[in-house]
Symmetry: C2
Subunit: 473 residues, 2 copies
């Protein structure tokens, strides 16, 4: 199938669709159609939303239409959530009616072998002749907080529009990233799960988000591409203007097998991809956690905030551990500037404390004015690009209760604001038992407060160091 | 100071002490002494527990004695929780009375330079002349569920005795490991935070736990040692009989600085240590999480359960991702045996599923009898040493509610029992917001059920793959 020229407006009409029909909407529990219908109804699409299913009259209190032709208007976007072999008839109806775009949920196309590939070619051919574009098949489609569109299972996704785009060949990961990032205050221009990319593929979507004025950071989960040269060009262009973060799988034999049977993708040679990313200035990540960690760092610190970190906490072991992690990640843990060191010696003048970098304040919580003075000196120290403080949460909680932990957070926010230096809190919650939910709740509350106050928070030291390293590449 | 010959009974008398005095016990909030007193009182020491503080009459409802000489008996173990410069007088009193052991909490000894080193030598010299042994200084001391001793801040530690010993130069990490491991059902023979190791050091303690019949797994956090040869010998002996897991810091310049100022340790060359561990058959880990992950794998799978894993889940992306992680960790993701493959093709005969390794069941939750049949075939497949199933928890929850997630757990437990093959569940909780505590609670409940049923659970795929890799070394 010949690929069409790129047209921003065509993709924009789908992503920012003003009307939507769900074909295969369902109210029956345990069905995909039901989950997606319920998600979109709960999320509240900003324009008209039509449910289509010939065997239902009403779904969750909303009227249901027998077919697309019966709708009061032609919807801009049609979500087809029925099996592959029945999708083609609906696509033909879409062509007749003149819709702008279709999201094709079903699996059973290219990834299933020759017969599926034939079906996929027919689907694209119908779209070509009908003058509309397809996202999918074998995908979830789009989450866009601006028009409150979510074809992903995400009734609880953030409704706040943001600057990050995420495109993904995996539907599951698209939902995981949308949910998790949203919970950390990372908001999206859009998330697009595009599966097999039969018509619109990674190159079209990356180019779209490169041109989209709402998007500042472009991220992607890729299994492969059919056009390495095209991908290189679009990544290079995008990364010259925006932050680009890519998670590429298919580096191992078994992963390449999985990618082929998942989205029919050819994963390509690992070294080629790594070279491509390096050349383009793309940040390469692995996994949902690492991706979200980097998005969080980009939001709070931007790109290349500096490699020199000052490590602090109450306890010597954590400094020794963090130092190993930092240097293994290519970060620097430089000696303190002489003046800062002298001033810190006056402030932390008691057994158990140790002035240097790492800076050990001795116990997780010390007298607050001392803590504030020490953190201020540590941040202002000229060899500090970023201050990383490790709070032993359970220990601090035992010493000074929730108020004590909240007070530490307040000091860090103050130091962040007053010094202008990046501050990162690492707050392990080491209470994992069923009866300890209060600790988890406190740690989330404190995290939200810190993130609102401009202090970056990570749940472990390896994740903090890795994220700091990646945004500095 | 000349080191004494190793005597099992001397250390045993301290770790399994039958009577205890806390000097510096306190009821004042925000004091270390108060935290430790409250912890030990709440944990409920199995023998007589005496609180000593000349300025208090009663602490938390318990009588308080002015000094050790006023106690109705000579305690076997004395916990000295007062500043360094005042500790020596108490040590002299211990010598006069004839106690068996002392745990010295205070910092301000060797790690503070020459004056501190002098003080430390004096402390050891008093113990030598008085015929007792010291743990510390600059440490928390001992947690032992058998005599319900906890000098660590751990009123909520597990009271169940177990087979794992952990020794640590860091007090903070000793508490983190004790708490976290306990919450995962890993129980301890004892945890010993020994700080500077002025008298009893890592070599004594490793040797003790090697000989201790209650201990089957020995783990340690080390900053350095003063006797490399001695450490090599004790590790080699221990690792020939028991599983030994070591977390060694001091691999970087900044970490070596931190270790020196933390416990006065010389960290030594990294390559030397790595060679030593390899030669001895020690599992080397990094961080509290990784240590606990390995302890959990050792508990459920033992050492070297086999490198060939079968990866499964509902979604193609997770297989592609997990395959990359597995092979990067030196695990194998082999093709299915022909017979198992044929049988799985009959069971998973629908679009979205993909039979192979990785094995994609298409969606996070499928019809339960199908799921059970597929998991059984996957486990029984002759090239499967361990079955790893990735449950997209939030997605599964959306599709089938809590009952659906619990049902998946029941199937995995059944498959584990009936096939005898190791089964590992990776269950990400991707709902991190304050209002989503129910998801976290469900994930902990399901984790506990699975662990009780012999199914290993990890919170992320990288951690699962790393742990499987480490126990196979």
């Amino acid at each position: 199938m010949v690929r069409l020229d790129f047209r921003f407006e065509e993709i924009d009409a789908i992503i920012n669709a003003r009307s939507l029909a769900i074909v295969g909407a369902s109210g029956k529990p345990l069905k995909f159609g039901s989950l997606f219908t319920a998600s979109q109804l709960a999320f509240g699409f900003s324009g008209p939303l039509y449910l289509v299913n010939p065997s239902e009259k009403e779904i969750m209190g909303h009227p249901c239409y027998p077919d697309l032709a019966s709708l009061p208007e032609v919807p801009e976007l049609v979500y087809i959530a029925i099996p592959a072999y029945r999708s083609l008839d609906i696509l033909r109806e879409c062509a007749r009616l003149g819709v702008k775009g279709v999201v094709l949920l079903a699996a059973g196309f290219r990834e299933m072998g020759d017969k599926g590939a034939q079906l996929e070619m027919e689907a694209v051919s119908i779209a070509r002749n009908g003058g509309f574009r397809i996202i999918g098949p074998n995908c979830f489609g789009i989450y866009n907080p601006r028009n409150r569109l979510t074809l992903l299972p995400g009734h609880d996704f953030s409704g706040v529009p943001g600057e990050v785009a995420f495109i993904s060949q995996s539907g599951g990961f698209s939902a995981q990233v949308a949910r998790m990032a949203g919970d950390l205050g990372i908001h999206f221009s859009a998330v697009v799960s595009y599966g097999n990319g039969a018509d619109l593929n990674e190159i079209d979507l990356l180019r779209y988000f490169d041109l989209d004025p709402a998007t500042r950071v472009i991220s992607a989960y890729l299994e492969g591409t059919s056009d390495g040269r095209g991908l290189f060009e679009v990544l290079k262009a995008a990364a010259s203007r925006k932050d680009v973060v890519i998670w590429k799988v298919g580096k191992s034999e078994s992963s390449r097998r999985a990618a082929a049977s998942h989205t029919g993708s050819l994963a390509g040679a690992t070294s080629l991809w790594e070279g491509l990313f390096r050349q383009c200035g793309v940040i390469e990540v692995s996994g949902v956690d690492e991706l979200c960690d980097v998005l969080l760092a980009l939001k709070h610190l931007g790109r290349r905030p500096g490699r020199r970190i000052l490590i602090s906490g109450g306890g010597g072991g954590l400094g020794a551990y963090a130092g190993d992690l930092a240097e293994a990640e290519g970060l620097e843990v430089p000696l303190l500037h002489g003046d800062a060191e002298s001033r810190l010696r006056v402030i932390l003048d008691y057994p158990g404390a140790s002035v240097g970098n790492p800076l050990d304040i001795g116990t997780p919580l010390i007298h607050l004015p001392l803590f504030e003075a020490a953190m201020r000196e540590a941040a202002l120290n000229p060899t500090t690009d970023a201050l990383v403080f490790d709070l032993a949460l359970n220990f601090a909680l035992g010493l000074a209760g929730e108020a004590g932990v909240e007070a530490v957070a307040d000091v860090l926010i103050k130091v962040r604001r007053e010094t202008g230096k990046p501050v990162i809190l690492v707050a392990y919650s080491r209470a994992l038992r069923l009866g300890d939910m209060a600790v988890e709740e406190l740690s989330r509350r404190v995290r939200d407060k810190l993130l609102s106050g401009g202090v970056l928070v990570y749940p472990s030291m390896p994740r903090a160091m890795r994220a700091l390293s990646l945004v500095n590449r």
